[in-house]
């Protein structure tokens, strides 16, 4: 079983998120970058398949500038076998289609049986990369996995639906699956793992041309202004004015 895990490095939620002077990105000097939360569960899901006796290889794939190697080393310390770093040499964000295309071009020859990714990234939150990549590589795809099980060359996935419902699907391999946070208990790397990770192979692939279909126009903090309008008059007047406000000002369809 050859498993790829897509890992993204994102700004830690507790680090200061100041917008830089170009108003298109963050002031990186202040930011603490960490591994995207749901990606930790994706890594664990892959490692557990190997722990259960499936012979296999877990390959970490991460895209971004030099700093993402920290996230890669962490994943290697937990037990992943090797990694591919797609070095973008910049922090500029791309859109899911571009990211997935880049990943697909590099991953297609590897012939992975499974690709795990986190449900969505904590910074941009598109939640599409894993699925788009799966489609590009002609794999079965599933999102929102709560648990997975490899049986007889197929994979059973428990998917989260809305309001407490879930669904079991069985899919043929190869498959690309995005996992939900909380689906397992991510491990903490052992000292041996940490030390061993320093010697594991990270293949670096340069990827400079980020041609995006989408681009950031301006990044700014949401303003939290609030306005209170008192509607006065008889009950009928109030209702009439309220309906008008809802319809024409707030524009509730």
């Amino acid at each position: 079983m050859k498993i790829a895990v897509l890992v993204k490095q994102v700004p830690g939620s507790e680090s200061p998120l100041n917008i830089d002077s170009s108003e298109k990105g963050l002031d990186e000097s202040q930011v603490t970058y960490i591994t995207n939360e749901s990606d930790n569960y994706a890594i664990e899901e892959a490692l557990q398949i190997c722990d259960k006796g499936e012979e296999g290889e877990v390959v970490i794939i991460s895209m971004g500038p030099e700093r993402v190697q920290k996230a890669i080393r962490e994943a290697l310390a937990k037990g992943a076998h090797r990694a591919i770093h797609i070095n973008t040499n910049s922090s500029a964000s791309s859109d899911p289609l571009v990211t997935a295309s880049a990943l697909a071009s590099i991953m297609k020859d590897e012939k992975f049986d499974l690709i795990f990714s986190g449900l969505q990234s904590d910074d941009l939150g598109f939640g599409q990369t894993g699925v788009v990549l799966g489609e590009m590589l002609e794999m079965s795809t599933a999102t929102l996995a709560m648990s997975t099980e490899v049986v007889d060359g197929k994979i059973r996935v428990k998917r989260e639906l809305e309001s407490g419902y879930f669904q079991w699907v069985t899919m043929t391999l190869p498959a690309s699956i995005s996992v939900q946070s909380g689906c397992n208990t991510p491990r903490y790397p052992s000292l041996k793992g940490i030390m061993g990770a320093k010697k594991k192979e990270i293949t670096e692939v340069q990827f400079d041309e980020i041609d995006t279909f989408q681009s950031v126009k301006r990044l700014y903090s949401p303003s939290n202004s609030k306005e209170t309008v008192m509607i006065e008059g008889s009950t009928e007047d109030i209702v009439e004015k309220l309906v008008d406000v809802l319809k024409n000002q707030i524009k509730i369809a």
Binding site: G12, E14, S15, Q30, I34, Y188, L191, M195
Partner: protein, 670 residues
Amino acid sequence: MLTAIERIAFILLVIFSMGLSYVTFTRMFKIISRGTQPLNWRLVLKNWPKGLAVFISQKTLFKTRPVIGAVHAGVAWGFSLYLLVNVIDIMYGMIPGFKFLPNNFFGDVYRFFVDSFSIVVLLGVLFFLARRFILMDKRLITNEPVMLSETAKKGIKRDSLIVGLFIILHVGFRFVGASFEVALHGSDWSQPGATMLASFWSSLPYETLVFGEHFSWWMALGLILLFTPYFPYSKHAHLFMAPINYMAETKRRSMTTLEIMDLEDDNIEQFGASKLEHLPQKELLDGYACIMCNRCQDICPAYQTGKELSPASLEINKRYYYNENMKEFSSGAESLDTLSKWMLSEEAAWSCTTCGFCLEACPVGNEPMVDILRMRQDLVLMESKFPREAMEVFDKIENYGNPWGMSSQDREKWTEGMDIPVMREKGSAEYLYWAGCSGAYDDRGKDISRSVAKIMKKADVDFAILGNEETCTGDSARRIGNEYLFQMQADQNIQNFEKYNVKKIVTQCPHCLTTLKNDYAEIGTDLEVVHHSEFISDLIKDGKIEPEASLEEDVTFHDACYVGRHHGEYDAPRDVLQSVLSEKATIKEMPRNKQDSFCCGAGGGNMWYEIKQGKRINVERFEEAIETGVKKVATSCNFCMIMMEDGRKVTGQDENMEVYDIAELVAERI
């Protein structure tokens, strides 16, 4: 006195006993030699005055059970005398016509002492046996849910009985033998006890008396020869292993400061202790020194609140493991199970608050807490098995430099509106004021930091803070067992200390204090670190600040383990507290105070995860504060503060009582 045949038989018995003892004693020392960090026996032996002093003074016995300690001293001193008596008795038996200083004043004094000491020792041992088997003293029993091996459960009673009976028979027959001798040779004023007993035999025929004397001699001295090879199996070995344990003592900068691990060394296969053979030799020796008195269990905050941990059981399990596997383990076989399977459960290992009381209370110099720290290192570094909440704390420390997981850029926010000098602007200062994570992020902790800073400013101290450059010292990481994270944190801080030429540090966090002062010194960075209680106390003594003595209510003071037992400071915080009390008010101590203080429950990383078993330690402690009847509780530790504040709420005292740090009480009055 003995016949020729008896003398030959005795010599044969001596040879047999020595041969067998050689085998069992060798095994005992081979077991100890299975440990890591080899003991230098030459140095250990050089330390003999220390062992002798402990043995003669019996001082370690009086720390927690003074009355029983006194009885033990009687038995111990009496027993030492018996060694001399045994030699003389052997001479009496083996050398025809030998008598020890007959019709001599010193001989009479000797006989008088033997006579009376025999009675003291007999009474002493009878008392101890009655305490265990009739009175069933509950301090000698270990409660559920502590893991105590089946062999240990049976062994403790059997071993106590064997040792007790041995002493009674040995001393008893020596005494009876003396009475036969008196009956044969006429009354002796210097042996009133034996003379009294001899009156029972006076009507017996001569041959019977001679037989009685010979029989008693054989029982008294033959038993010693039979018992000697059994020593290594018996807890009675403590009578020489305990002094040796003191002679082999490991010097530590503080009770919790273990040696620094070389994490880069590829040749090290095992970090921490997973199996018996991973423990240092000194700590294997602990198992042989243990006399199973349970003093450590009596005072352990985890045990006292119904958790799975008993430091005594740890040593007792260790000892019975030796007995059960003596042959295999001493000959070098790998031990079968991990320590958590038979010595101390994982849950118990996490229950330890590293308060250090077990080390303080142990009369034979054992360090069960250190074993626990080593097990934790294995569980974290090798197995990655530890409480979930601790893992989050590791991530938070690694990513944000504090266990609260708050932004490292908010660290100096507590100074807002106070104009506190910061190193990056000031360049250097005589003192670095170290607020610590709790002093920077916890609300009550920030109150304390502001108070300390206010006091330092008022006293014109040349100081500065690291501000946002400060990062967690790594205390919690190290006590939980994450040496890797600790070293990462230490590296960052040490770089800053070098950058700003920091030599002296003041901190109100006793955990930072211990780590900066001792663990960093172990790495090679020597700093002069003082606790704010000491610093403020000195400022008051030097007249730099004069707090108004205006507090009119009685206060009780809770000692922090890491200021008290770990740092040895009990007076400074009380002096500071005293300085704000008016004439009407006093410090009303809780029953458990100073060296005997009871932990708040937060040390050793327990601040960050919850052991759900039993009662909460902080509630137990706060109830003790309530019972003093005072309305104000003073602390000198941020963790203790958080724990006492929580205890106050849980016990429903939020309206009634208040918790302060000593610095707050001072800062309000200058």
